[in-house]
């Protein structure tokens, strides 16, 4: 064996061991090792992703979207696990190269091993070819972190290029028919590779396209799209009156959504296997999309409908997505907010609450949040302004968060600025309201969760 070859094989053998050791060390220090071990792995062995994923007997499936990646993947994980598969999953939402490699480090070998990876939308075109997925779910593309991702059209164009190449290798696609951009992507692929999902229940349709809606012109001819129903952002029942491009007919649909305030919902699902009713421990129309997408995805890898239905009903809210805990005898719920459309769905869920709202908005401007906090002005905080009892604004950009609520119409004497998130929560818990609603951006959620985990109020992940 040439000397180089043996060195390379030593590196390949050593890389996972070294990376795992770093993970153990970090956990020993009380830190969550969601990204660093994977970075170590990739530094030593840049081909690690393709090497490890090729050893997963049941293959790898990917989930990407602007909103709903973590919840969709977490629902899929519940179904795959209940079906008896051994799932390697980046459950903490660390969805760039390092986080994905970290998750694969824990992958088992064998025929029942499957990789379930949520991938950052910007990283998808680079990482997907290395992971050689058997199926990819693409949920939606919304305006998000323009400072990091660039314009929406550019992200979609990169996705289309990547999807065409993956399709040529036989990767299946599970796509949201209600997003005109995602639909346009799917129409470039062989129909045999595409499974469409969507929401049919139009009783929850919005009166008009929200201000933050993006894809309102036809990808094929540039004419304005018309909607018979707008369900969420620019998702809905759309068509182009000029060239005739129209929403593909989905085979997996939610035919009925019943919202139970801001905490849970009931869904009726129509799939090729029949009609199924499920109770979901998360609220809102956006989670109806996440659930039906996850349902279609796990069906493509052979999970039975009865297994999916019971797994979804039992699934817990995932990591900062409608996660509930008790603080100062009050029930607090964490809702991650990171872009206008996601925030609008949280606002919509909160507007379904009958009591007055006690809210903490934790606005950070870290790289993972987007350094640019402009997006808060695109979200429709006006829709809950009249329900607000108290709003405490925290985080690195707390004053601008407070301004947003003031200009949305919340009286100044109901708004306070307390930069430190934990102190802000303590202040919020002095309100008369029995429910507290905490809206953190991504790094704010990690920081606050970590503090709460130190106090034993929430479970530490990993």
């Amino acid at each position: 064996m040439p000397r180089n070859a043996s060195l390379i094989s030593v590196r390949k053998w050593l890389a996972p061991t070294a990376a795992r050791a770093v993970g153990l060390l970090l956990r020993g220090l009380g830190r969550a090792g969601t990204t660093v071990p994977g970075r170590v792995l990739l530094a030593i062995d840049p081909s690690a992703l393709s090497r490890i994923s090729s050893r997963l007997g049941a293959g790898t499936i990917l989930v990407s979207a602007t909103n709903g990646k973590t919840t969709t993947a977490s629902l899929a994980e519940a179904a795959l696990s209940q079906a008896g598969l051994s799932v390697a999953h980046n459950s903490a939402g660390a969805n760039m190269a390092g986080g994905i490699a970290s998750a694969l480090l824990h992958a088992k070998h064998g025929s029942d091993a499957i990789g379930l990876l949520e991938i950052d939308e910007f990283w998808l075109p680079e990482l997907a070819p290395q992971l050689k997925p058997r199926a990819v779910l693409l949920g939606n593309l919304f305006r998000d972190q323009l400072d990091r991702y660039g314009e929406l059209d550019e992200v979609l164009d990169r996705w289309i290029d990547a999807a065409i190449k993956l399709g040529a290798d036989g990767t299946e696609f599970v796509l949201c028919a209600d997003d005109p951009g995602i639909a346009w992507l799917g129409l470039q692929l062989p129909t045999s590779l595409v499974t469409w999902f969507g929401v049919e229940d139009t009783s929850l349709a919005l009166k008009q396209l929200p201000h933050a809606a993006d894809a309102t012109s036809c990808r094929r001819c540039g004419s304005p799209l018309v909607y018979s129903a707008v369900l969420l952002g620019h998702l809905g029942h759309w068509s182009c009156t000029s060239c005739g491009l129209t929403r593909p007919t989905p085979t997996f649909t939610v035919s009925e959504v019943t919202l139970h305030g801001a905490r849970s919902s009931s869904l009726k699902i129509l799939a090729p296997s029949g009609t199924h009713s499920i109770e979901l421990g998360v609220p809102g129309v956006y989670n109806a999309y996440n659930a039906i997408g996850a349902w279609a995805l796990v069906t493509t890898v052979g999970v039975e409908a009865t297994v999916v239905a019971s797994a979804f009903t039992a699934a817990q809210a995932s990591f900062g997505r409608a996660e509930t805990f008790t603080v100062s005898d009050r029930e607090a719920t964490l809702f991650l907010v990171k872009n206008p459309t996601g925030a609008n769905e949280v606002i919509r869920a909160l507007s379904a609450e009958t009591g007055r709202l006690a809210i903490q908005f934790v606005l950070n401007d870290g790289v993972a949040d987007g350094r640019d906090v402009s997006w808060i002005w695109d979200a429709d905080f006006e829709d809950i302004a009249s329900q607000v009892d108290t709003v405490v604004c925290s985080g690195t950009r707390a004053p601008e968060a407070a301004l947003r609520f003031r200009y949305a119409g919340v009286p100044a004497d109901r708004i306070s600025v307390i930069g430190d998130p934990r102190l802000g929560l303590t202040q919020l818990a002095t309100t008369r309201q029995s429910s507290l609603w905490i809206l953190p951006t991504y790094t704010a959620m990690l920081d606050l969760r970590s503090t709460l985990a130190d106090e034993g109020l929430v479970e530490r992940v990993i």
Binding site: E151, S217, S374, Y407
Partner: protein
């Protein structure tokens, strides 16, 4: 003496296409600050194919958009709208053009795979750079006010705008990139007509500029506007300055 005007009429050009960086924040900011002072407020949305009528507005706002949408707006502006806006800016009347909207006022925005017509209302040309200029920015204008003319915000643009001799800049770059990343110039100013790359909700981060624009549009001095409690606005400005690395050293305590 004429009675003081009691209504601000704001023409917003292409509110659905040029709104990518939360341009609505600027509009809502102006509206609330008028409402809180008892000044009437009327929004005059002007979309593709709509006409812009002289005498129906006191102030013009043009936001930023994706390239694809900006092409449609650039084409729609040609003709009557271009003529009217050219006169408006020529007389230095109140206008705020942000990012893409600012680019459209110049001669053209061109690049290897891009050609967006402008209206030539200002002496400026924009070409596409090979990378986007992104990040927090602070500039110094000569508009005075409580921050001594300093504006803070965020920029994210591929365009490099170079001003000709007939159009002066809005300010000089303290930190960040500005018009082209090298001249040290940012935006343009002709009287009360302003253009800038400080995108999206520029006014919430710079409350005094909102008041300056309201006053100019109503033909008043800023001091004639009713005082508001601006403690949150000042705090937001201070943080935006700090993020841009241009601390507001003499900021009053909040």
């Amino acid at each position: 003496m004429l009675p003081k005007p009691t209504e601000l009429r704001v023409a917003v050009l292409y509110p659905t296409l040029l709104n990518i960086y939360a341009d609505r924040g600027n509009i809502d900011f102006l509206r609330r600050r008028c409402e809180w002072r008892g000044i009437g407020y009327t929004l005059v949305p002007v979309g593709v194919g709509d006409s812009l009528e002289a005498g129906t507005f006191d102030f013009v706002y043009i936001g930023g958009g994706q390239d694809r949408d900006q092409v449609r707006c650039g084409e729609d502006l040609q003709g009557h709208k271009a003529e009217l806006l050219g006169d408006w800016i020529g007389q230095g009347k109140p206008l705020l053009a942000v990012c893409g909207g600012y680019q459209l006022l110049g001669e053209a925005y061109t690049g290897p795979d891009l050609s967006i017509p402008g209206i030539g209302a200002i002496d400026a040309r924009t070409t596409q750079g090979d990378r986007r200029l992104i990040g927090p920015i602070a500039i110094r204008t000569n508009l005075g006010g409580p921050t001594d003319g300093v504006l803070a915000g965020f920029e994210n643009h591929a365009g490099r705008t170079v001003l000709g001799g007939k159009t002066p800049p809005l300010g000089t770059v303290l930190t960040g990139h500005g018009n082209d990343g090298s001249s040290g110039q940012e935006g343009f100013r002709h009287g009360a007509s302003l253009g800038t790359y400080l995108h999206g909700p520029l006014l919430p981060k710079n409350w005094w500029l909102a008041d300056w624009l309201i006053a100019e549009s109503l033909g008043l001095a800023v001091a004639e506007l009713a005082q508001l409690d601006d403690s949150l606005e000042r705090a937001a400005h201070r943080v935006a300055r700090s993020v841009a690395g241009a601390e507001w050293a003499d900021a009053p305590a909040f």
